[in-house]
């Protein structure tokens, strides 16, 4: 394992220290927690809390700030944060009108966030939540834990954050979230595994000439392994899967997020974006909003994912483009 770290078990703590130092104008760490909280003054908006295992930087702390998340709870690497930490985030984010939680669909995340909600109930803080499950690489059946939450979650942060900033109530945000989440679908391809510093070796093995479609952001196996192929073929396979899910007719409007997994340079992300552009143009899809870069990574995994959000409401584009003050949006 070749990493710029000190003690592998102290990575999350030191990372948070470095982050809140570098961006001390924007964020702060709640004392004795791994919660990163925005600094801007409270003004009665609904609080927006997210989080999950660390290793997905800039998610989630990089999206803390005015117009986006109120707080992010950083779990250990690839490990859902605990309810007590989530509770602290909820308490700090409550401005008197309740707190909304954005949870990614993993058994651990759901259980921990739900327990935190129970604790918040006891403190009379109204809490509601949505579970993001945008990863179409996984089947949503009674035989799985359901589709995973991946890069599309960042679009949920942005849109709900803008709505909260605009003054939406907890129930309005819940309603928006329930409409939004089913409209988001993502799928990715990995070229190399991630190495969790505490584990010290790669999460899976893959040949020098192989790629795997549908790998999860914790390195969970994907749906198919193939030989390395040109960017446009990778893009074609992923777009094909998205088309199958969306069943688009042609003249629909979408938002697009091309997301790097951590070790894939922007050079490759933009080459890939160009291929996605051609494929979607051929499908007659109009892309009203676009973004490319590292948003929801998997430590040092090489790979990319495509997220499409079907724009069923014009307001969503306004929310996507509304100004924010965060480290990484």
């Amino acid at each position: 394992m070749k990493k710029i770290i000190n003690d592998p078990s102290a990575v999350v703590d030191e990372m948070i220290k470095g982050m809140v130092f570098a961006y001390d104008g924007l964020v702060e760490r709640l004392p004795e927690t791994n919660v990163v909280h925005r600094k801007h003054s409270k003004n009665g908006k609904v609080g927006l809390v997210s989080g999950g295992g660390s290793g997905h930087e800039p998610a989630h702390a990089g999206f803390v700030g005015q117009g986006m998340l109120s707080a992010a709870v950083c779990g250990e690497v690839f490990t859902s944060p605990t309810p007590d930490q989530i509770l602290e985030a909820i308490k700090a984010s409550d401005e008197g009108n309740g707190v909304f939680m954005v949870i990614k669909n993993y058994s651990g995340d759901i259980m921990n966030f739900e327990m935190a909600k129970d604790l918040a109930d006891m403190e009379d803080i109204p809490v509601d939540f949505v579970v993001v499950d945008d990863d179409i690489a996984v089947e949503d059946s009674t035989y799985t834990a359901g589709k995973r939450g991946i890069a599309g979650t960042v679009l949920v942060h942005k849109i709900l954050g803008a709505a909260a900033e605009e003054g939406a109530s907890l129930s309005e945000i819940k309603e928006l979230a329930d409409k939004l989440v089913p409209a988001i679908k993502s799928i990715g391809v990995a070229l190399s595994p991630a190495t969790n510093p505490e584990v010290g070796k790669p999460g899976f093995e893959i040949g020098d000439d192989e790629i795997e479609f549908g790998v999860g952001i914790h390195g969970e196996p994907g749906y198919r392994r193939e030989k390395l192929q040109p960017s446009k073929d990778l893009a074609a396979e992923l777009v094909k899967q998205l088309k199958k899910e969306f069943q688009w007719s042609g003249d629909e409007q979408y938002a697009l997020l091309i997301n790097g997994m951590g070790a894939t340079p922007l050079m490759e992300q933009f080459v890939f974006t160009n291929d996605v552009r051609e494929l979607l143009a051929a499908e007659g899809i109009t892309l009203v909003f676009k973004k490319v870069g590292d948003y929801m990574t998997s430590i040092d995994m090489a790979g990319v994912s495509i997220t499409l959000l079907k724009l069923e409401d014009e307001k969503w584009v306004d929310y996507l483009t509304a100004p924010v003050n965060t480290i990484s949006w």
């Binding site: 078990s9 295992g53 779990g75 250990e76 690497v77 690839f78 490990t79 859902s80 944060p81 605990t82 309810p83 007590d84 930490q85 993993y106 058994s107 651990g108 259980m111 921990n112 327990m115 996984v138 009674t142 035989y143 799985t144 834990a145 995973r148 969790n196 505490e198 584990v199 999460g203 899976f204 999860g216 914790h218 390195g219 969970e220 196996p221």
Partner: protein
Amino acid sequence: MLSVETVTKWMELFGEQLTENKTYLSELDTAIGDGDHGNNLARGAAALKEKLGANEYEALTDLLKDVGMVFVSKIGGASGPLYGSAFISMAKASKDNDSLELADLLAAGLDGIQKRGKAEAGEKTMVDEWVPVVEAVKNNSLTTETIEEAVEKTKDMKATKGRASYLGDRSIGHLDPGAMSSSLLFKTMLEAGVYDGK
């Protein structure tokens, strides 16, 4: 015998086993999960040791509740809320109940896990370790073999809950990490003399 002393001993031994098997448990989790199960539980074990070292317990309920709280707040992931719920549920069952049997206590623990995680037997989770053990304790027939056989059986199961469920058929042929860590729980239970049966 079910007592503050034996359960304290149990928890000490369980913590030691978790620390010792940290790498092994994470390796099992690397195969069908995300490789952190051992690290998660080892973190819980370290916090547990500190907690037990700093407190003297009079009532079993308080001890079990503290164990549950430590697990909930230090382990994280899926296993944290599950082990935490098991012990908090056991703490509740033991409250104001002097004649509590171990079988009932463990049944309460299993109930806590299932309420939290919604898994049934056969879904390749820690539940598959708990169910036969609770049954055996009830029948007064628990042995090391019962415990080990239960883990072994998870090997042929296809996961339909937790992270391993994403693998579908490819989860078959691997031991479930959570079932393995629960087997350590029950082996140390025998070792600590919590169980009086057979």
